[in-house]
């Protein structure tokens, strides 16, 4: 599937409203991306279908549908299955990282993040995805 050369639309999913606000400010402020947010997995699916994000930033530990279940739901949806998913989580360990990558995530980034560096990393990941 051919992708546009530049990353523009990002969907961030996190149960914490403040992190969404900071994340959105960072992604928009440093990267100039168009950002939508969702606080639950269910909401994320709805937003994703209408917004058609190029990349999804997903939390791991969430009440209700957790990060892994949300990823599976996204993968189950034909129009979203190909969208690269990057985890952004505070609960990081090598085994969790392995589990996330095995489930189909393209990368695992850790919280807290430095906004400027987060944007740089996402750009790199996007470039990697576009190249493959």
């Amino acid at each position: 599937m051919a992708r546009p050369a530049t990353l523009k639309r990002i969907l961030q999913i996190d149960d914490d409203e403040d992190i969404l606000a900071v994340g959105q400010a960072a992604l928009e402020g440093y990267g100039g991306f168009e950002v939508r947010t969702a606080q639950t997995g269910g909401q994320a699916l709805d937003v994703a279908r209408s917004f058609a994000p190029q990349l999804i930033l997903l939390d791991w530990m969430m009440p209700g549908m957790d990060g892994l279940q949300t990823l599976r739901a996204l993968q189950a949806s034909p129009e979203l299955a190909q969208v690269p998913v990057v985890y952004l989580t505070a609960a990081v360990s090598p085994s969790l990282r392995e589990a996330a990558l095995a489930a189909g995530a393209v990368e695992v980034l850790i919280k807290p993040f430095v906004p400027r560096l987060l944007v740089a990393e996402l750009k790199q990941i996007w470039a990697r995805c576009a190249a493959s």
Partner: protein, 617 residues
């Protein structure tokens, strides 16, 4: 422990004190361990009363044995004496008969000889020719025959033989003289004189023969009487003494039995006390003999295994524990029976399906010669403790996560404000935002460290093992610390690093270790000091060193540097950095260490393996 100090053994009949039929337990003043030790009842119990019980038991045994042995010896002597008496009596009877025969035969000779002389006189006086024939028969046939009989009877007696030979000669001479007188040869008067001399000699010889035999006869009679008297006396006194000895031995045995019963009763009571004591212990206690049979166990042991006394007592551990658990425990049993005290933990699957964590310790039991004769097993149920530890771990992980989430927002927001993304700040607010930012980072580092330490202590700390370039990571860490060094007025140099230094490890964790060592070095360096980072590539490993010329570590504190919460000098910090660094390096299969001299500085170094190394058990 208020237990009776009874140095002795107890033997319980089946069903009396426990189902471990004939379990033998020594009860010594040596504490619980000694109380649990089973011992074969190869020695009689030691009486408990008065003095050293062992000594008194030995004295009893010696006296008993001596009494019995003496009694037997006396009986033997009596038997021997009786035999001697009977033998003497028989011999003496035989001798008497013999002497009587000899005397009779001697009398017979003289009888015949006198009849021959009478026949000769009758012939001489009346010319009776029948008397002449009679004389000749008696003198030449009967008398020599009787003489030959006596010679045969006394052939063992030389003196008598000599006398008989003389007698034979005299009788022959007498016969010749009588013949001459009967034939009225010349010199009759002379011949009568010679005959009279000869008859006197014969009478003397006969007297000597008789008195000799009579003397022998009375000597035999006397000997027989003496022997019989001796035998009588010996039998009487010996019998009396034997009766006394046997009676004494019987008395000793009876007293001994009584003492033994007393001791056994006391020991049974003590054993019951020990059993109650071990039964009250919430841990599983058992004793395995060298054949691996469980010869002692307490109530908890039974209850946890869900088995009855009969299913455990005296049975092999394999039978009691089952193949799986026995296989788990076997290496430890082997080690304990080889003389080593082993401590380990294992998970036990209850019959109900419930899992219990057991902390086990096996202590070898040695005999007097230092040989291992069994082991004491103690198993404590630490399931609740493990659960509490797990809950604590989960709680800390949860708290850490909950702390990091708001910190993410705070830090992100402050960065954005600081970078002017959210609009320009008034100049006086910028400094406040920076202070807030710096302290948020500090707080975040603390949370990360606490989480790392918690994971390490819970055994949940993980590191990646990937191909990394240590040189690049060192450069990254040094660059990240440049601001810190500059602020502290310390020169931070990492010159002479190789282009690359490939190794196997966790990139983030290597950066964390280098950053930690550099930040410590900077903190402990005086303003104007220098910190130097170097890197060496060896065939098997990459080695990184961070050297400073700071205050150094006092010798007394050097052994504690890698302990958690250890803080050197007056520099503030959590005291976790080096403990975590050591944990990380260890997990990656490397080694961390340092050299330090007080007042001259420190050099910390660690290695990262270049190939995957086997993880330590």
């Amino acid at each position: 422990m208020p237990l009776p100090d009874l140095a002795a053994f107890v033997s319980l009949p089946p069903g009396a004190g426990g189902a471990e039929s004939r379990v033998k337990i020594p009860l010594a003043g040596g504490g619980l361990a000694a109380l649990l030790k089973p011992v074969k009842m190869d020695r009689p119990p030691r009486p408990a009363s008065g003095g050293d019980p062992r000594l008194s038991a030995n004295v009893f045994r010696v006296i008993f044995n001596v009494a019995i042995a003496t009694g037997l010896a006396i009986l033997l002597v009596i038997a021997w004496l009786a035999y001697q008496a009977v033998d003497t009596a028989i011999t003496s009877g035989r001798q008497e008969t013999h002497s009587q025969e000899v005397l009779t035969a001697v009398e017979e000779i003289f009888g015949q000889s006198e009849r021959a002389a009478a026949a000769a006189h009758r012939y001489t006086a009346y010319g009776d020719t029948r008397a002449l024939d009679n004389f000749r028969t008696l003198a030449t046939v009967r008398v020599p025959k009787e003489l030959a009989d006596v010679v045969a009877l006394t052939r063992d007696d030389q003196v008598q033989q000599q006398r008989l030979a003389e007698l034979g000669e005299a009788l022959k001479e007498q016969a010749v003289l009588l013949e001459l007188l009967m034939m009225r040869e010349r010199g009759t008067t002379e011949n009568y004189r010679r005959l009279s001399v000869l008859e006197e000699r014969i009478a003397n010889l006969a007297g000597a023969l008789r008195s000799e035999e009579t003397a022998q006869l009375s000597a035999h009679r006397e000997l027989a009487a003496r022997t019989a008297r001796d035998a009588q006396l010996t039998t009487f006194w010996g019998g009396l003494l034997t009766m006394l000895l046997v009676g004494g031995a019987w008395w000793i045995a009876r007293r001994y039995d009584h003492e033994r019963e007393l001791v056994e009763a006391r020991l049974r009571a003590a054993e019951a006390g020990v059993r109650r004591l071990t039964d009250s212990v919430p841990g599983m206690i058992c004793y395995l003999d060298s054949e691996r049979r469980i010869v002692y166990h307490n109530r908890t042991y039974r209850e946890v295994l869900g088995l009855s006394r009969e299913q455990i007592g005296g049975r092999h551990a394999y039978v009691v524990l089952g193949a799986e658990v026995y296989a788990q425990s076997r290496p430890y049993i082997d080690r304990a029976l080889a003389g080593e005290t082993v401590v380990f933990e294992r998970v036990h699957n209850l019959a109900s399906g419930e899992l219990r964590h057991l902390a086990c310790s096996y202590t070898p039991d040695f005999d007097g010669e230092g040989r291992v004769i069994g082991l004491y097993g103690m198993h404590l149920d630490i399931t609740e403790r493990k659960r509490a530890e797990e809950m604590k771990g989960e709680f800390i992980a949860q708290v850490s996560h909950e702390l990091r989430t708001p910190l993410t927002s705070i830090l992100g927001a402050l960065e954005i404000v600081n970078d002017g993304i959210a609009g320009d700040l008034p100049a006086h607010a910028v400094r406040m935002v920076r202070i807030a930012h710096a302290n948020t980072e500090r707080l975040l580092k603390l949370v990360a460290e606490i989480l790392d330490v918690q994971k390490m202590s819970a055994g949940q700390f993980e590191v990646r093992r990937e191909a990394i370039d240590v040189a690049a990571l060192v450069r990254q860490a040094v660059n990240a610390s440049a601001g810190l060094a500059q602020k502290a007025g310390v020169t931070l140099a990492a010159d002479g690093l190789p282009e690359s230094a490939p190794a196997i490890g966790d990139a983030d964790r290597v950066v964390q270790v280098v950053s930690n060592l550099v930040s410590n070095a900077v903190k402990f360096s005086p303003r104007g000091g220098a910190v130097r980072v170097t890197l060496d590539v060896a065939p098997q490993l990459v080695s990184v060193a961070v050297a400073d010329h700071g205050e150094g570590i006092p010798r007394a504190a050097q052994s504690r540097v890698f302990e958690r919460f250890f803080q050197g000098g007056s520099i503030q910090g959590t005291g976790l950095g080096l403990a975590i660094s050591k944990g990380i390096v260890d997990m990656m299969g490397g080694v961390i260490g340092f050299e330090s001299e007080e007042g001259r500085g420190s050099k910390f170094h660690f290695t990262v393996p270049r190939a995957v190394v086997a993880e330590e058990a």
